[in-house]
């Protein structure tokens, strides 16, 4: 039992800090908060790429960092603590690993470079109006016509499809056998004829989500990743990637820090809110849970460092992590009082009379989704009940 970092880990932490100090500059911060978001985040990802830090989870041979679990933890903590956005997951976090794991040499050569250097923006076409938690019931179908598949159907909740150059899609290629058995994982160029993207405005009043329609979209057969009708195996492997780092304790810790700073300035009845015992109790309750979760996270990391792979236990990190994220976002909203409701994102502090109300609103409202996507918390609880506790 020992929680101190090794000397080389401390050196790594210094290197990360220096890099962030130099590269995550104020100009980038303001661009990320503006309409210029896409260009700004690509710019940031390309800075990471140049440093060789874009793909923490990839094997070194494909351009990964080769970091130990401890190094990944250090990197993520430092990143989140500064409010630096994570790498957009769909390319680096999702489709990339599927391509190097299941793809042909040609696919690797064609797609991996654009994913690593962030020149190609990807999106994830899994969910359908009728297939959410029960993903395997998906109906978007692909029929073989010579050396092409012809895709018809619709995907929904497709994050950032409006920016995407490519989409990876789960399609139904067979109706035989169990519903998991006729699914295929295929890569589709968003410029293909017959694709239509319809925006969905979110509860946060932002446009992140979309519906993507497929009308007779022709896709070459060589874009299938893995075997035809074996797409479920690929999809499941992807879910494992999706769940690492999901607790995001560092983000919650950052929110707590912001809350404490703001509560020291927020006066009620002549006294800073941070001195109000009722408010102190609210912060303390959260901090205590976050403290515990940080160690739950570290225990998982230690197990991974020792060669394990996060199994169904990672569902625990997802459940507790997202619940604590939401709770800290909520407390930040409370702190903003009336200003939590202010709609215009870019209203100046001078006009509004408040500095973080709209920002707290967007993060709290969008944050409601964290217990829904990536396998809802109900589904995660079902997984723990079944695979960890053995309850059927």
């Amino acid at each position: 039992m020992d929680i101190s970092f090794a000397q080389e880990d401390l050196a790594f932490r210094d290197e990360v800090r220096t890099f962030f100090d130099e590269q995550f500059d104020d100009e980038l911060v303001s661009r990320l908060k503006s309409e210029d978001f896409k260009e700004a985040i690509v710019d940031w990802q390309q800075r990471l790429f140049k440093k060789g830090w874009i793909a923490a989870n990839w094997p070194v041979e494909y351009g990964g960092t080769g970091w130990t679990p401890t190094q990944k933890y250090i990197y993520e903590s430092e990143r989140s603590a500064r409010g630096i956005p994570g790498v957009i997951p769909f390319g680096i976090g999702m489709v990339g690993p599927m391509i190097y794991q299941f793809g042909t040499p040609e696919q690797k050569e064609k797609f991996l470079p654009g994913i690593l250097n962030s020149e190609v923006w990807w999106c994830q076409g899994y969910s359908e109006p009728g297939a959410g938690s029960d993903l395997a019931s998906l109906k978007t179908k692909a029929e073989l016509d010579g050396d092409h598949y012809v895709i018809n159907g619709a995907k929904i909740w497709t994050s950032y499809a409006q920016y995407a150059d490519w989409i990876f899609v789960l399609v139904r290629t067979s109706n035989e056998g169990k519903k998991q058995e006729g699914i295929t994982f295929i890569l589709v160029d968003m410029k293909s004829e017959g694709i239509k993207v319809n925006p969905i405005i979110g509860i946060d009043n932002e446009h992140n989500l979309n519906e993507v329609e497929f009308n007779n979209v022709r896709v070459p057969v060589e874009n299938v990743v893995g075997e035809v009708n074996k797409g479920w195996t690929v999809a499941k492997a992807l879910l494992a990637h999706e769940r690492t780092g999901i607790a995001d304790v560092a983000q919650s810790k950052r929110n707590i820090r912001l809350i404490k700073e703001a509560a020291a300035k927020e006066i009620n009845g002549g006294r800073p809110l941070i001195e109000d015992p009722g408010f102190q109790a609210r912060i303390a309750d959260l901090e205590i849970e976050i403290m515990a979760l940080e160690f739950t996270d570290l225990r998982t990391i230690a197990a991974m460092a020792a060669g394990g792979f996060p199994g169904p236990e990672s569902s625990l990190l997802k459940i507790k992590g997202t619940e604590l994220q939401q709770a800290t976002q909520e407390l930040r909203m409370e702190l903003a009082a009336y200003y939590q409701g202010v709609l215009p994102k870019y209203m100046s502090e001078e006009d509004l009379g408040h500095s973080f109300g709209p920002e707290a609103r967007v993060s709290y409202m969008y944050g409601r989704a964290s217990t829904i996507y990536g396998g809802s918390n109900e589904v995660q609880r079902n997984i723990i009940a079944k695979y960890v506790l053995g309850l059927e």
């Binding site: 009336y338 709609l343 918390n377």
Partner: protein, 379 residues
């Protein structure tokens, strides 16, 4: 003991419910909230024609002579229909101040306008630094002869953009948070020196930050005594909290009903998601949360009807419970709607946002719990 509504109260309830059903469906409400003014003049005239704007005013003032139960009934229906028109700021806030502190001249000058729909009202109390402390007021009113000059700024004023008559809380003497020395004035929104910045809110309200730069107001437009406004304000806030909590209960009931309906129809894994026991138990809990909130609302209303000041402790308790249970109800509603719950298109998120604004208005749970403790456990 009797928790029934009178026949008249049932009629009010039914008439608002019918209006929502026939003329105020979700698409209409969305379009109204997105329009330039964020309210419908047509709906507002209907409210006037049907007499809803007259209900809490005395018969001498041309009103219907209703009491707190009537206000509860109306506000609950407003919550169910998510009605965005400014009933609360106009009738409950501005009207409530006039009822309490207006002299005969002031009442006869303004209340008929509220009743016929021509007056749109607001009460400007919040300031940048004041949070939930009503007496924390830096806006000043300086007497000169038979008029006052108002200087200062009020923020996030409900209905601030549409209001043509604005009640302003201003300091005529004393320092920042003194209870004494506050006075109330009614100012024309187009008076010289009044400037507004629109602050649109997530629940569809058009609030405003309002600056007063040497705004002249005649002493005739001072409501109540000079320096003695706090008592009026505190009395108003009791009624305002009850009204908002009634609206919250309306929102909660509707969220529960819509979520229940959704879980009965939405299928995953070959069955309605409402058949999963984990969801069933949580829906039972949101039902209990709603009933509990409604009970405390009734208690507050009954006490207020007897003697408003006797309801103080219950009003603190009610605000705490609405905060906790309201969050539970909208949180579960969003969660159980899955991706649908995260859209702007569906009404679920809009009920949630209205609840959130109610929860923070006039003090959240942290604030009211402290007030409750100070009253209930003081040595």
């Amino acid at each position: 003991m009797n928790f029934d509504l009178t026949e008249e109260q049932q009629m009010i309830r039914d008439s608002i419910a019918r209006f929502v059903q026939d003329d105020y469906d979700w698409d209409t409400r969305r379009a109204i909230a997105a329009s330039d003014s964020g309210m419908s003049d047509k709906a507002w005239s209907t409210f006037a024609e049907l007499g809803w704007l007259s209900i809490p005013f005395s018969e001498e003032d041309g009103g219907f002579g209703g009491n707190i139960v009537d206000t509860m009934v109306i506000m609950e229906e407003i919550g169910k229909g998510l009605i965005v028109e400014p009933y609360f700021p106009t009738v409950v806030l501005l009207g409530g101040l006039l009822k309490r502190a207006g002299n005969e001249g002031q009442r006869s000058a303004l209340i008929p306008g509220i009743i016929d729909g021509s007056v749109l009202g607001a009460f400007a109390y919040l300031e940048r630094q004041s949070r939930f402390e009503m007496a924390d007021c830096l806006t000043t009113a300086t007497a000169e002869g038979d008029s006052y000059t108002i200087n200062g700024e009020k923020t996030v004023v409900f209905n601030g953009m549409n209001a043509n008559k604005i009640a302003v809380l201003a300091r005529t003497s004393g320092s920042q948070s003194d209870r004494e020395g506050l006075s109330l004035f009614v100012v024309d929104a187009d008076a010289e020196g009044v400037s507004r910045i629109e602050v649109p809110m997530m629940d569809g309200q058009r609030c405003a930050n309002i600056r007063f730069d040497n705004v002249k107001v005649s002493a005739d437009m001072r409501l109540g005594t000079e320096g003695g406004a706090m008592e009026t304000v505190e009395s108003l806030v009791r009624e305002a909290i009850i009204a908002l909590c009634a609206e919250a209960v309306g929102c909660m009931g509707t969220l529960n009903a819509k979520t229940l309906e959704y879980t009965k129809t939405r299928e995953q894994f070959g069955t309605a998601i409402g058949s999963f026991q984990s969801l069933q138990h949580r829906m039972v809990d949101t039902m209990i949360a709603y009933e509990q909130a409604k009970s405390l609302l009734f208690k507050a209303v009954c006490e207020f009807k007897e003697d408003p000041a006797s309801a103080d402790l219950t009003i603190n308790a009610l605000k705490v419970l609405i905060d906790r249970n309201g969050k539970q109800v909208y949180g579960e509603a969003i969660q159980m709607h899955g991706g649908m719950g995260i859209t702007d298109e569906l009404d679920i998120g809009h009920y949630a946002k209205r609840l959130m604004m109610i929860i923070t208005s006039f003090g959240d749970a942290t604030y009211h719990r402290a007030q409750y403790a100070a009253k209930a456990y003081a040595a």
